[in-house]
Structure formats: C-alpha cells, structure tokens
C-alpha cells in the first residue's frame, strides 16, 4: 500500500517518538544510578573493585553500541534469556551509559582537590558527610555540562535499537518510508524531531559549563 506523506505521517512519527523518549529516560535513570555507584566505587572502593570497574568501562567503551544491543537481544535469547526489544534495548543502552557516565563522574570526583577532602576530615566529617556536603556538590557542578551533553548522545543512540525491531523514531521512519517512498520528507522530519529534542539539551549543556556556585542547597 502506497500512501503519501502527510500530517498523519508526522503523527505516526511523533507517536513513535514517545518510545524514543521513554527508552532515553529509562537509559538515563538506570545508567545514571549504576554510573554513580560505579564512579564512587572506582574512587573509593577496594583495589580489586576499582580494577573490575575500570575493566568494564574499557570493555564497553571499546565495543560498538550496536553490538551490545545485538548481544542483549539475539545473544541472550540464544542462551534462553529472551527479552522483548524494549527491555533488551534498555539493558544494553544502560550498560553503555553506565560505562560512560561512570567514567565522566569519576573524573569529576577526582578533579576535586585532595585538600577539600582533608578540610572535611579536619572538621570531623564521616565519609558520607564528606561526599554529601563537600565533594559531590562540587563534582556535580563540574559534571552538569558533560552529563547533559551525554544525554544528547543517549537520545541519538536510541536509534540503533531500530535494528532489533524496536519501533522508536528511527524505526518508525523506516516503516513510513516503506509505505510512502518519500525518504527525503520522511527522514528530514525524523531528523527535525531529533533536533527538537537534542538542541535544548545541547543549549543547556553549554550554559551549564559556565555556571558558578551550583550546589546542593541544604
């Protein structure tokens, strides 16, 4: 059935965009939680744990995201662990995000001068107090720019899950193109939607890089 590109096509793409946003949000939340845990353990954990996390980070960063997605979807189902596309996509993207955010945040924590830890020590703070009131608020301020910047990467990278048949924005574009044979209109619209999501994030990211005194109010 051939139909022409019209408003209902745009609606179809916008509908699929909800899945892109949902997958991005799941990835960011899961990857963010594990990323924070990994960053803290990489800085404060025992040596073997640090090495394990460093190894994980290297491995994931050196693997194409698409391969991670294929492993989670095809590879694991071959082992009898079948995940529906959304779950397989969320798992693989979260693993990918954990590696990157963990590494970004580790760098932010390590960039806080040793003297700040020492000053907190001298004021008799416990480790959780040092992190909560002294180190993490400063690391957070440094991390905002790169973190929001990486969110842009997440949104765009959800497009690789089109290849395991998850109907997010890119996959919806492919399907629509098959129906309309108007690739230029279809994929320009897809690109415009991605831009609409990502540009505000990039803009915020740039703004945050220059900000001062962003701390945890208490």
């Amino acid at each position: 059935m051939i139909k022409s590109f019209g408003w209902d096509s745009v609606e179809f793409l916008l509908f699929a965009t909800r899945w892109t946003l949902l997958l991005s949000a799941m990835t960011f939340v899961l990857g963010g939680i594990f990323g924070l845990i990994f960053a803290l353990l990489r800085v404060l954990g025992p040596r073997p744990v640090q090495l394990l996390i460093a190894g994980y980070t290297q491995l994931i960063q050196a693997t194409p995201l698409l391969i991670l997605v294929f492993i989670a979807f095809y590879g694991l189902s071959f082992l009898g662990l079948y995940f529906p596309p959304l779950i397989a996509a969320a798992i693989s993207l979260s693993m990918y995000t954990t590696a990157f955010l963990g590494d970004i945040w580790r760098g932010c924590i390590e960039s806080i001068p040793r003297q700040q830890w020492e000053a907190a020590d001298a004021l008799a703070m416990t480790l959780p107090q040092k992190l909560r009131y002294v180190i993490l608020p400063q690391a957070l301020r440094i991390s905002l720019g790169p973190t929001v910047g990486f969110m842009v990467q997440i949104v765009k990278n959800t497009s690789v899950t089109a290849l395991i048949g998850f109907v997010e924005l890119t996959r919806a574009g492919q399907l629509l193109n098959n129906m309309t044979f108007q690739p230029f209109a279809v994929f320009m619209t897809v690109a415009a939607i991605y831009f609409t999501i990502c540009y505000p994030l990039s803009f915020i990211s740039q703004r945050l890089k220059g900000s001062r005194h962003v701390g945890l109010a208490h």
Binding site: Q115, E118, A119, L123, Q138, R212, V214, G215
Partner: protein, 243 residues
Amino acid sequence: MSALRISNIQKFFGPVQVLNDVSLDVEPSEVVAVIGRSGSGKSTMLRCINGLERIQKGSIEVAGHTITPSSGDLRALRKDVGIVFQSYNLFPHLTVEENIMLAPVVVKRMRREEAREIAADVLGRVGLSEKKDAYADELSGGQQQRVAIARSLAMRPKVMLFDEVTSALDPELTGEVLKTMEELAKAGMTMILVTHEMGFARQVANRTVFMHHGRIWEQGPSAEMFTAPKTPELRNFIASSLK
C-alpha cells in the same frame, strides 16, 4: 595536665624517616611556634596531632584523646583539635556563613539557628561579619584564611593547629591573619603553629621549637631562642631566615 603530650613518635614516608623520636609537651593556653627548614618534619608533626598523618611509633595525647599507631576513628579528636591549612581550603560551593555552619550542623547536630549565632560570633572575632554571604572566590587570600580560622573556631576546639597559614599570602595580607591569631592567643587558646614568620613566633609564641632532620633539635622560650640560639644549626637557620 598538658593540653598536648607527644611521646616518642616516629613517622616514615616509605623508607624515609620524617619524624624521629619526637616528644613535646604543651600546656593549656600555651602558644608554641615550630620553626625549621622545609623537610625538617614540622608540618608532618603538626598533621600527626589531629591524625591527618598516621604515626608508626609512640603516642599523642591531645585534648583528652589518645592517638597511637593503631588508632582507628579519630573523629572525636578532630572535634576538639582544629587545624588551619596553608591553602585555606574553604569549600568553594558554599558561602562564608555556610562554610562555618556546615560542621556544627552536620557533625555536631547543632540547630541551624544556633550554628548561625556561632558563625556570627566567630566571624566577628576574625573581623569579617560583613562577608558572611560571600563566596571564597570573592575574598582576598587574607580574608579566606581568616574565614578558615573562623570555620575551625566554630567547632569550639580546645587546641588549634596552624600549618604555615601565611605562607601562601602576599606580604601585605599576612598582617591581618597574624593579628587574628594574636588575638586568639590572648584569649587563651592553646596553639601550635608551624611558621616562617620569625617575628611573629618571637612576639606571640611563649615557646619556640626548632626542628631539624625529623627531630626537635632545640627548644626554649621564644625570646631566648632567637637571641641566644645554642646549636649551630639553629644559629644558621636564624641567620639565613633573616636575610
């Protein structure tokens, strides 16, 4: 009873011995200046007193707490022993007032209003009441250091340690910090200060300790130490630091 008693402590950094059988007694309200060349172990000794550096032998009794080579948690001690660093180390994401209130509120579980009153009091003592809402990067080095002193005072320490607190300051800013310390000394605070300010040591410290090669080489009332040094090492040190 001494406010501080260091007994035969030893400290190594790897194979290098930085403190060799150091012992020192400090009376309550006494002000002791520690002088010596870089690498003589004076800062390390100071940092051992509140456990920022571990000792490998001996013991330290300070403000009713005891540090041994096997001491674990030193937080109780650190509530009673304040330290001020060469590089101020204010928390840059907090205002001056928040810097001062933080430890009383989170460590001592003090009510915020009470902590705020203490902050106002200690800021008054260092003469910076009007800067309570400023951030560290809006202050001069001398002002930052005075805030760091106030932050430490807010914990109501029994002993205060000062680690070369004027060394990072421009000469014209050292005066205000030294004046703050002098007032603390007059108010009866027990103070141990590692310093390069010979004039200050001489005027304010009751006693001066000269460290050399990880040992206490010579000590005595400040006036005598500077006018009549007994060892050739101290004589040389005083001569070279007066240049």
